[in-house]
Point group: none
Chain length 225, copies 2
Amino acid sequence: MFKVLVVEDDGNLRKLMSAALKQNGYEPFTAEDGEAALDLLEKTSIDIVISDIMMPNMDGYELTTSLRRANFEMPILLVTAKESFEDKQRGFMLGVDDYMVKPIDVNEMILRVGALLRRAKMASEHSLVVGNCVLDYDAQSVRFGAAQAETIPQKEFLLLFKLLSYPNKIFTRRQLLDELWGMESEVDERTVDVHIKRLRERYNSNPNFEIITVRGLGYKAVKLV
Amino acid sequence: MFKVLVVEDDGNLRKLMSAALKQNGYEPFTAEDGEAALDLLEKTSIDIVISDIMMPNMDGYELTTSLRRANFEMPILLVTAKESFEDKQRGFMLGVDDYMVKPIDVNEMILRVGALLRRAKMASEHSLVVGNCVLDYDAQSVRFGAAQAETIPQKEFLLLFKLLSYPNKIFTRRQLLDELWGMESEVDERTVDVHIKRLRERYNSNPNFEIITVRGLGYKAVKLV
DNA sequence: TAGTTTGTTTACATAAAGTTCACAATTAAA
DNA sequence: TTTAATTGTGAACTTTATGTAAACAAACTA
């Protein structure tokens, strides 16, 4: 389910938008202003941001700038009170993807969100999200929240990716060797243990997942979120 | 230079749009209706399509459907006579990326085209700005702030330009060889390393970007601004 | 509880990948 | 034509990843 962050200081409108999103199969999150939004974005992996421009503390433009600067690449849809060319120009320069003019037509909003997500999906396909942790298959990297993505050794990555792709599913060492090392691999089963150990060392204190030993059978990953 | 296809039966409007596009650094192509557009799309690699909805022979919706069915994935921007929700809904369903309502504001059109192209990740201009650093493709030069622009060796320039055109995207050595040296080049992959080394030597202490090695995969550029 | 099985951890050897250097070949400039 | 700049190569070197073996620890079993 796609996570949509609605940033809007008007409580009624916020509720209205949330409701419409929920009704259309999205998972809405809300924030009252840019600062609250940034906080939330650190913790949660939001797929698309819909933000009002005029807000207390931090307005829509500042929010956009902050996000792009922090290398967040999700689509941003700004809501403007008046249809002004200068505003739009400024927004597009900063990295805004689309505009809506108030009063908002929630049906149109749903359509635009869909179009933006569809377009954005093309960009990075092979990725896996667990809480605020994102595994990028192509970059062989792991990122937590807004932190810098870290590329990790291939075997470790594949192992983690496989386990997290099927949370709670138990994999035997043999299965993992067959799938990640190749059927004919002559590698010792203990090798899996060693890589598990390395992964645990790397991500021991993260709050998103844990690799569990299932004695006599193998290993599994569980989500903690 | 980006190729924009304008599909519009009104000759005057077509000219107006073409002119505006050309003036803003795009290469405009035109077609009078959907069928003519399809013909042209077969022959030319168009980056983005702007199409009127109401046209003889094949309208904007049919054109969209045909394109998506043929796996063309460029952004499509439809121009509608009236702002009707049903129309928009239909369009977004079919795979339209954005709408503009007539009468067209050409400035807004340029902005929307820019935003769509940026989102489509095709972004690549004739000059590229990273922080206070400017790469000029035509002059094959790099300039920092107000300093004198410095022309650098071609291979180094192309390499840097390519990497910075898609920040954070990882390129394999093979990809870079194919794209910068040509598909059939017999050059050793190590050669890329050598050029990377030279670039790093040249720009090691600049605060705008950095070339990162992604072990096992290739190289990527990251913006530090 | 002692012994057995299974899983964890460590240190190390080897392989794989990336960097650097000196130089030769090529191209462009003076 | 001479000189300088650019580009590619191969080998030495550095760093990182991976697998093995053995010691250690925990869990099960009789």
